[in-house]
Symmetry: C2
Subunit: 157 residues, 2 copies
């Protein structure tokens, strides 16, 4: 099997330090997103300490999962809509303008979670992505990420 | 100065393992919330690796901060509205039904962040809390948490 590169693997190296999904963040979660037809997918297995109450996954981690998967999907979707590949310079990098999460069911710890993303709308600078988080095929949370092209001020340091 | 107990210090011990704010989670963030008049406050200094891009705080951490501060404020507000103290059994414990975060400005790393909560609405089982996150007095993010009493299914394990 050929190792497929994730959306995040195409982020510019100087913007690849995100705690949620940056390749270069040694302490991070390393969330990686891929196309699956018209939808995008990512997988995450929470650590034993990522809990809200014993046995259930922390909502802030689920929000982070939705956030990074949504932002990655936004970058990939914008590239695709422009007929570009993600390795073409300037490489696309988006950040979150807003994040909404509805927690539908308590999320069980100890299983791999799947995030599925669907592009709702692509504008010139803004992409809206709907994301569902599932555990063993059952819906746990539903979110929406509005992602925008990274502002110049966040590239400065 | 007398050490004041935070809202989270009153959570039932078997429900004090939250990664964001549980006293008993050794790996957690230990977010602690307090009344400041009619509003609630919490403080958090992100770790150097909690970044989105170098120099700026990760949005998922900000979402977590808003989440735990909102849920803690909900528990405290419900107790207060019932004329109870938080140490009275059964102790109040809420969880997040929904979370919304608008990222207003990039959040600088290296400074202590403040969350300010304001109760928007208290129902019988549900409390809505508005939360702002500030860095050096400037607004970084604005959120809303809808918190509900913890369901029985989350107490089982």
């Amino acid at each position: 099997m050929v190792e497929e590169k994730s959306f995040q693997d195409y982020y510019p190296p100087d913007l690849s330090h995100c705690y949620g999904c940056g390749n270069l963040n040694e302490m991070g979660l390393h969330i990686k997103s891929y196309w699956d037809g018209e939808e995008s997918v990512a997988y995450l297995t929470p650590e034993p300490y990522h809990i809200a109450t014993p046995g259930f996954v922390y909502g802030g981690l689920i929000a982070s999962f939705i956030d990074c998967h949504g932002v990655g999907t936004a970058a990939a979707a914008m590239s695709r809509s422009e007929g570009r590949t993600m390795d073409k310079e300037p490489r696309p990098r988006f950040v979150t303008a807003s994040l909404k999460v509805d927690y539908i069911n308590p999320t069980p710890l100890g299983v791999q979670l799947m995030a599925r993303g669907k592009v709702k709308e692509i504008g010139k600078r803004k992409v809206s992505v709907l994301v569902e988080v599932l555990a063993k095929g059952s819906i746990c949370a539903r979110g929406e990420v509005i992602a925008v092209r990274i502002p110049e001020s966040m590239k400065q340091r």
